[in-house]
């Protein structure tokens, strides 16, 4: 469903010249599966997801979403995905009903089908009470619900959740996670990025642990635990990131140090 190969993204940066957000990542996510992207802030998760949603163009490599190439067929790719970001990203001056209808219409859905779908989703997410409430008047949890419904309205085969539970209280976060599970059970391919270990452990069928634009480890949570002999996901994450940071630090120091002159006496 999603095939990512050697995906790279570099930006111009006035301080360091060039900033590598993604240094060639590859992974596959399948239908009925939740693929977790796990990593600290600045690991490259959002960049990867932005490329998958065609908002950004990759510098190198390819990404195929439900058979469509993100670089060559961006419009078709956008029709295959629903994107839920960490900031709720909904229009404050629209009601939840207007907002969902607007995005449904952007996806070209006929109004009668759109309305029946909206009614079903509003019932399912218990949002009928806030149908005519302006989004600016809603709580963060409510906003996130609207955001999820907005992403689901055109029934996309792929759903991307970019730190969708960040900033939510425990009740709303649980509800979001439950929705994600339900969507997985419906056969959707879900990419779920987070830095909350418990969520990843609970939801994800496969996990990629990222740091500084590279995937450090990839596989099912069980496989990763066995391979690294660490059952605690949080501890495993900590060890991998610490090791990666230490390695990068030593490489940086080696590059900065002056070359040692060979002594004729020792040779």
């Amino acid at each position: 469903m999603i095939h990512v190969r050697n995906l790279q993204k570099t930006y111009k940066d006035i301080q360091s010249g060039q900033f590598t957000a993604l240094a060639g990542i590859s992974f596959d996510a399948m239908p009925g599966q939740i693929y977790g992207l796990l990593g600290p802030n600045g690991a490259g998760k959002t960049t990867a997801l932005r490329i998958l949603s065609t908002v950004l163009k990759p510098s190198e490599g390819s990404a195929i979403v439900n058979g469509f190439n993100v670089t060559e067929q961006p419009e078709q790719v956008r029709r295959q995905i629903g994107f839920v970001s960490c900031n709720t990203a909904i229009y404050d001056r629209m009601t939840s009903w207007e907002l969902v209808q607007y995005f449904g219409q952007l996806y070209g859905m006929p109004l009668d089908r759109l309305h029946s779908k909206m009614n079903a989703l509003f019932d399912r997410f218990q949002m009928n009470e806030i149908r005519d409430v302006l989004c600016s008047k809603m709580s963060t949890g409510m906003k996130q619900k609207v955001s999820i419904v907005r992403a689901m309205i055109h029934n996309p085969p792929v759903l991307i959740f970019d730190e969708a539970t960040s900033g939510l209280d425990i009740l709303v976060a649980r509800e979001v996670l439950k929705t994600v599970e339900q969507l997985r059970d419906q056969g959707k391919c879900i990419v779920f990025s987070s830095h909350i270990m418990s969520e990843v452990k609970r939801l994800c069928d496969r996990v990629a642990i990222m740091n500084r634009g590279v995937i450090l480890a990839e596989g099912t949570p069980t496989y990763l635990a066995e391979k690294h002999e660490e059952n605690d996901m949080e501890e495993l994450f900590y060890q991998l990131i610490s090791r990666s940071e230490a390695q990068l630090e030593s490489e940086k120091n080696a590059a900065a140090a002056p070359p040692r002159l060979a002594s004729p006496l020792t040779n």
Partner: protein, 749 residues
Amino acid sequence: MNWPTIKLIFRRELRDQLRDRRTLFTVAIMPMLLYPLMGMAMMQVAQFMRESPSRVWIVGEEKLPASPPLIVGGKFNPTFGMAESQLIELIGSTAGDGHFESLIKSATSSTDDSASVEEILRQEMQKRKMDLAIFIPNQIHIPERPKSNIETASQDSTSPPATQVFVLTDSAIDKSRIASERVNRILNQWSKEFSKETLVANEIPTSMIQGVVFTTGDVANKTGKQAAAWSKILPFIIMIWSLTGAFYPAIDLCAGEKERGTFETLLSSPAARSEIAFGKLLTVMTFSMATSFLNLLSMGFTGIFVLTKLSSGMGAGGALPIGIPPLASIGWLLLALIPISALFSAVALAAAAFARSSKEGQYYLVPLLMISMPLMMIPMLPAAELDFGTSLIPVSGLMLLLRSLIEANYTDCLKFAAPVCAINLACCWLAVRWVIHQFNSETVLFRASERFGIGAWIKHIMRERRSLPSLGSAILCGVVILVAKFFIGFAVTAPQNFGQFALQTVIILVATIFIPSVMMALFLTRNPRKSLRLNGCKITMAAAAILAAIFLNPMFTWLTGFIMHIYPPSGDMLMLQEAVSRILGSAPGLWAIILVFALAPAIFEEIAFRGFILSGFQSIKGKWKPILLTSLMFGLAHGVIQQTMITFVIGLVLGLIAVQTKSILPCILFHLTHNSLAVLLSQANRTVVEQSPVLRQYLYSTDGQNYQYATFPAILMSVVGVMLIIWFLQLDLKPSNRSEAYGRVPHPN
């Protein structure tokens, strides 16, 4: 592009903006309230405003003649100006408290001591004791006609001396200037009456001094006069409000969406970037038009109300020169609002798309206004008229067309409507293209805040150096040249002889054009020689460049004449040309003129423009865009509008030669030949032409001084010139390794 998607985005954005209280306040509520409130305030203030009287001191009042009486009952005689006499308070021997009189008496034995009196008056004026002082040094009486015959009467020795009255004012003070206007009106009338009485006393008919009596008439009707007054104000008002009305919604729709995070959601929807851009553009345009219209409406109603009130207050004879705008002018304004709003909306949207936040977006309003204001101000100048030249100036042409439409000058409108519409539509199209480009540019949409430091920036530039100049460095070089040329203009003084002139010209060329481009090539590129296009070329190319310059010269000469005809040179420019011609007269020989006017610019300008700048612009795809942009910079660097146009066209040919031959050598040869021919043509005189049988066939002159190419040889030569350009176009060169030259130098990680 899918129209239903654009419509959908437009409707959403429109609804969104209508629900925004700030936008509604700016667009609708503010104009509805602002003007009526301003009108009310104006009328309230007008009630309290009254003209304060001017304080005038007369010294030597007793020396005034009894008839005609200038002062009656301690005031100026109202016969010589009823309103003025009411507004003047006399402080002197009769009206004052004696303070000034005692001053005069203490300083002088008698008021005949003119110098002392004048000094006292000057001091008292500076102390602001009065607004104006009048000093009558000698007794004024009606002169009698001399008893001699008419011949002797006309001689100065026997004619009576002119009566003198000194009027002292302080033009730096408003009150004194107003007093001067009032007093002058009264004194003029009194002086006329005095002359009349003099004639009567001397038994001379008063009709003798009437001279020629002018009777003036005005064919303009009331509507026409009102239209003329409104035609200057209304276009300016709608332009200003159209820009302001476009700007704030544009910021909210682009920078605001970025801030709120909704932009990303929209970009990940199936709507194409161009559809999003058009949807937003239509929204901004709607608000721009609405702001203009509502401001106009509110201002119109308030204006009518205030003017009616003021007119009624002024009585029957006091009609104001500006009345209610004619209905037709409102219609034309509304029609013109569409292209004006389209243009400003597109520009505002592109600027707003570039901004990272609403705050940053607002910073762009001032530069945008600074660029637009001169274009809006040009048509308000009294000398500005709609002609072919002004019709080609964006915004200004449209405003002048609008002015002509309001004035019902339909003949001019019909003549110039096509170029005005074409140029403004072209600007609209370019602005819309810019907006779409901004919406497609990842670096613009996801620009992150970076801490700016000079050190880091210099390091960044050095690290990012490419083999050839970047687009940014080409633009920078062009801007540096323009700015340097502007400032050096203040530093130079008018040369006195050819030597000074030559030295000054070469120094300016080196300092403003050559040094910046060479320095940039050395510091901003890895291959300065290639960046400056300092490559050799085949002998055929060099020869073709010289021949092209020779054969195209008649065409360029004709073009120069045509441009000078459309945009006649200003008085200053003509004076400058005259001064240069005078200086050239002192040149040691033709070779020296060619050295200064042809060789020096050919080398230095080509190194900068076809060398560094064109190389930089070539990082843009395509052959013509870099040539076009370089020519534009080349034209702008010549400063004067007529020269800018001519050099722009010549720059296109030079650019093409540079791109096709990959060397500036043929360009230098073309430039040198072209300028040399221009010098030779300007220096050609009858003796030279008459002596040469070849020149006699090619050149002709109507006045024996200014020579032109004969029509038939000129056409023939131009055809050959064009064929040579086609030859350059078809030059089959090895394709350059563009990616290698312009691609990023891999940065070692």
